[in-house]
Symmetry: C2
Subunit: 471 residues, 2 copies
């Protein structure tokens, strides 16, 4: 399937623009692309006429230029007529926003089959129906939501596809924006009558701007099966994160009426994902944590899962130890010898009050330098593969420069480090210091442990020669 | 034990103020109380002299006024001398910030026992040692962190006590601030040589400004045992939320060196908590979710655990159904008859595209009125006990007034409702509309389900006459 017209259209038509309702999905799509994206944008409504002194065409065929992509937001029963018009005008691809197809069963399913047949016969690639479509900056964005009401993550290297548009907009776009995770492209597949997971996977791995792939699926159907099979060839190179909706009976019932998803046994699907080396995120938050750590440390599997926890607070060390244990990570006690070495590295002021056992508690009197020298020592140990640094900017000696200093340590040792900084706007300078220097920041210890878990799973699925991680 | 001098001191002495180090804990405590709290504040240092043109006293006895509370931040080996001086000056209470006691074992434990004996003999109430002490606005705050580096939650009706100071400051103070949860008072107990959970529980239940109590504990010792026993008499009236650190072996090891906590089997402690009707928060996030819902709906147990999920997105409905099922809540399908009634209540524009089965998906074209009329109908059903409303402010018809309208519906039916609003600053007006009208807002569906779980546990532990909740 040729997806180029979907992701790189030069000219789009938006079919269904209302002459009276500025909130109509077609009007929102028309306006956001006309004003905000690089594609040429044409409006279509059978009545024709003018909207805000710009021509509205009676049909796609009437547009005086070759249209690459038609975005269709009309009532279900009108979609076939629009599609025929598009076929006659040699349009390359359709994004059908409209609902009222397979998710309604019966007649809706028949209508969807007719639509697929027509598209296939005319070499039109079809996204949807019953979807948000595609977000491919800076060219095109068919998500029918007013831009001032949404946020868009920065440009980055994660491609995302979702069976649910709302999950994509809310859990992915919003959470990624908040966490500073960048995306290359996003697709809401809806009923995936033609373009499905398998098809998008093949496209994503060919993109030079994409290094990690994320899917939201709602059950198991032939497309998902094929996708999981194909993923096996891919995951050693390009990590894939999957989050499943419809895990419980009630969730499955809701999914059926949502996107006509076929139910599948969750344990069985989870097993298949593991076998293909796909990282299953178990919660929405894990989706963001997994994608964020993978965008910082592309492919850095943990083998033994020995991590160091470096903190300026004993209580945080206790919490981190609990969470790490529950996630099958080792926070192994340091030998007395190593503890003594660490003690000698820190300032005299904290030597007698700090704990060096791992978790290491440098206390609230720790300085940037104490953190820097301790982390440097810890990462130099062969058996320590990664570190979780718990930075509490309310301790008075810590400066906003600490992230910049620790970033240099990490570059020297080339081992993954995650920093915890509490989620307050006023700690923004501390956060920036870390992230600008290559260390991802989390706002809860749990999220940090989830990130380490992602690297542990990478090691586990890669069939590590050194299977040291507790299973 | 008399805790009045701890929570309501008129005059405090801060012992250990440094003449040279402005970041010394004693200096931070001295300055924050001198400038920011109602208590009279005196500085003490054996050298005496002046600091910024204010007198520094050689001893507490030298202060020309009766001191209610002495905050001690000197080296461990100097603490006994200071305590003797305080006893001679008839000080009512000590907060000993200093570490170097039982958490170090051996000599530290002996020193701690001597300190307790001295305090008991002189009727001085002792908080700590090895603690942050007390936050009792607007009178006193002994947390030795610069106020510009921390946040404080609004005044509210939740009392908090923690074995870990850092947990209190970070997980509680910061998270509560972010979530808009208010606290009446907060105590960091440290080694709890004298004032422990049991003792604080008795104080908290007597406070007229407190309607909910939250503890962080790190293992089981006689004080915790007694607290759990006493709680049994209290929880029917005042809900108690407990979060446990040191759940795993590694966490327990860390806790031992942190606050000399005695390890306890987590399952056993969890069982004891349940029997006393205490709500155990399983994650840090649950601490905030539980406390927030309890501060909005003080004591509103769910009996059958039937909840309605009202959304403008199918995908969100699927996620909510999964999460609710996993938390033993029923999102039961509505009868065809009820679905039809709902359909007639909403605007014609969405009648054919919305799903009314529960989760109810009003679609992205839903208006404030569609939400209002649907919620009104749902809460009027006898068997529906609560509702989770998923509000997505990026749908174009929704206004910032929606929370105000739904608040009136909730007041009419007097059933608990939680609203999900994605966590973006620009949705602040939507959030305010809900919370000012009595509906708590969460920023993840998971948090909303956790809140319902808290009400489910209330019903379960109250020995509900109607044990309809799945166990």
């Amino acid at each position: 399937l040729d997806l180029s017209k979907i992701f790189n259209p030069e000219r789009i038509a938006v079919v269904g623009v209302s002459m009276t309702n500025q909130f109509h999905p077609a009007n929102i799509i028309y306006n956001k692309n006309f004003y905000g994206y690089d594609c040429e944008t044409y409006g279509v409504n059978p009545k024709g006429g003018e909207l805000e002194h710009r021509p509205i065409y009676r049909s796609v065929g009437e547009i005086p230029a070759k249209v690459d992509l038609a975005v269709v937001a009309v009532k279900a029963h009108q979609v076939m007529d629009v599609a025929r018009d598009c076929a006659a005008a040699h349009v390359g691809a359709l994004v059908v926003i409209s609902g009222g197809f397979a998710e309604m069963g019966g007649g809706g399913l028949a209508l969807q089959n007719d639509l697929v047949e027509l598209c296939q016969a005319n070499s039109m690639t079809l996204i949807g129906p019953n979807c948000f479509g595609v977000y491919s900056p800076p060219l095109v964005d068919t998500f029918f939501l007013p831009p001032e009401r949404t946020v868009t993550p920065r440009k980055g290297d994660i491609a995302v596809a979702s069976q649910s548009g709302a999950f994509l907009v809310d859990q992915v776009m919003t959470s990624f924006y908040e966490a500073g995770v960048g995306i290359s492209v996003a697709v809401s597949m809806g009923n995936k009558a033609m373009v499905d997971e398998e098809c998008l996977l093949q496209h994503f791995i060919d993109r030079t701007d994409t290094r990690c792939i994320c899917f939201y699926i709602e059950g198991l159907d032939p497309g998902v099966r094929k996708f999981i099979d194909s993923a096996r060839q891919v995951t050693a190179q390009t990590p894939i994160v999957v989050y499943m909706g419809g895990k419980t009976e009630r969730g499955q019932a809701a999914a059926r009426s949502h996107t006509a998803a076929l139910a599948g046994n969750h344990d069985m699907i989870a097993g298949a994902l593991r076998q293909s080396g796909i990282l299953e995120a178990e919660t929405e938050r894990e989706v963001t944590s997994f994608c964020k750590i993978l965008s910082f440390y592309h492919h850095r599997p943990l083998r033994q899962c020995n991590i160091a926890v470096l903190s300026s607070s004993g209580g945080h060390g206790v919490l981190a130890s609990d969470l790490a244990s529950q996630a099958s990570l080792n926070v192994a006690e340091l030998s007395a010898d190593r503890q003594q070495k660490l003690r000698e590295l820190v300032e005299p002021a904290i030597r007698d009050i700090a704990s060096f056992g791992n978790p290491i508690d440098l206390t609230g009197s720790a300085t940037d330098q104490d953190f820097e020298r301790s982390l440097d020592y810890l990462l130099a140990q062969d058996d320590i593969e990664a570190a979780l640094v718990l930075t509490l900017p309310y301790t008075p000696m810590l400066t906003s420069f600490v992230g910049t200093r620790l970033g240099q340590v990490v570059k020297r040792h080339d081992k993954p480090v995650v920093a915890y900084v509490p989620n307050l706007a006023k700690y923004g300078m501390v956060l920036e210091g870390f992230e600008l220097n290559g260390i991802p920041v989390v706002h809860s210890i749990e999220d940090g442990v989830q990130m380490m878990k992602a690297l542990r799973l990478l090691g586990l699925y890669a069939g590590g020669e050194d299977p040291g991680c507790p299973r």
